[in-house]
């Protein structure tokens, strides 16, 4: 009797749909709070949010981030305030995707997105530069460097939409 019951379980599972996800063709959607590859954000007018303060680099437990700041001017403005990130590099095979950089950022410039396809043939390829990380210019915005009127972008941290 136990034998029949055992084989009944087996036969029941034969007619079930397979659970396998055919990965390269079919993807399981990630969770909303999944932390994948970083992105550097822009304001609606195209200015970069990153002000080059290096707080993300200080917060990084794996020392994966390298930031080099430079001075803004009204003739060539990259971000609001005094400074912008001239060099912004993240070593993807060093980064542990903990999200501390996201928490440390005062302007919410760096956000961990949902991209996770990160494999490299060479470890030099794993260093993502600013050009690779930064978001495209939003529609209606202007690419950096911008020429801005003096006195308009004096504050590095403008009033944020949702400070939470």
């Amino acid at each position: 009797m136990n034998l029949i019951r055992g084989f009944a379980t087996t036969i029941k599972h034969v007619f079930e749909e397979p659970v396998t996800i055919q990965f390269p063709e079919e993807e399981r959607p990630v969770r909303e709070r999944f932390k994948g590859r970083h992105a550097l954000k822009r304001y609606d007018n195209g200015l970069e949010k990153c002000i080059g303060c290096s707080l993300c680099a200080a917060a990084c437990p794996a020392d994966a981030i390298w930031v080099e700041a430079a001075e803004n001017s009204d003739e060539a403005r990259y971000s609001p305030g005094e400074r912008y990130a001239r060099t912004y590099e993240i070593n993807m095979i060093r980064c542990i995707f903990c999200g501390y950089c996201e928490d440390a950022c005062p302007t919410e410039a760096i956000v961990l997105e949902h991209e996770y396809r990160l494999s490299f043939n060479d470890r030099v390829d794993a260093v993502y530069t600013k050009d690779m990380l930064i978001d495209p210019v939003p529609p209606g915005g202007q690419d950096t460097p911008q020429v801005t009127e003096p006195g308009k972008f004096t504050r590095s941290i403008p009033e944020m939409k949702d400070p939470d």
């Binding site: 070593n91 095979i93 990160l118």
Partner: protein, 160 residues
């Protein structure tokens, strides 16, 4: 080198042979079990039914280096483990590849200290680095696909 030098340019024949050999190599790759830390859990998950690595011809994780041709280094390699890893790599028959899975195997990750090897490429040649801490099973499979793309570019002239 090798055959092409002796026989001259074989044209279509060599191309087909290359394709056939590369096809065989990519579709029946036997990975060696080298789970060292938390990445190994994700490696097991990749083998399990949800992701099923046997779709890529990797039915078995071989615990024996002499029967495997891909070493998936999953986890941080301590200085004490390094000679073992090198020895197992040397015991694998050619052609062999190494996939460094996760941050710790690739470059030490958060463990920047005296006890951990700062990247397994200090001791063995690594073909593919997979980022993530630990990588999702999809990321490991993406790494394997990247390795397959790399092997498909192998040329007959490079074998000898």
């Amino acid at each position: 080198m090798g055959v092409t030098n002796k026989l001259g340019e074989m044209g279509v024949v060599t191309l087909r042979l290359e394709e056939a050999v590369n096809w065989a190599r990519t579709n029946a790759m036997w990975p060696m079990l080298f789970g060292l830390a938390c990445c190994a859990i994700e490696m097991m998950s990749t083998q399990a039914s949800n992701y099923d690595m046997s779709r890529f011809g990797m039915e078995l994780m071989r615990p024996s280096p002499r029967q495997s041709d891909l070493m998936i280094v999953a986890g941080r390699v301590s200085r004490k483990m390094a000679p073992v890893l090198r020895r197992l790599y040397d015991q694998m028959p050619d052609p062999k590849w190494v996939l460094s899975m996760g941050d710790c195997a690739s470059c030490g990750g958060v463990f920047n200290n005296y006890a951990i090897v700062q990247g397994v490429d200090e001791i063995v040649p690594v073909d593919v680095y997979v980022a993530g801490c630990p990588p999702r099973p999809e990321q490991l499979m993406h790494g394997i696909i990247t390795l397959h793309e790399r092997i498909k570019q192998n040329r007959l002239a490079d074998w000898a």
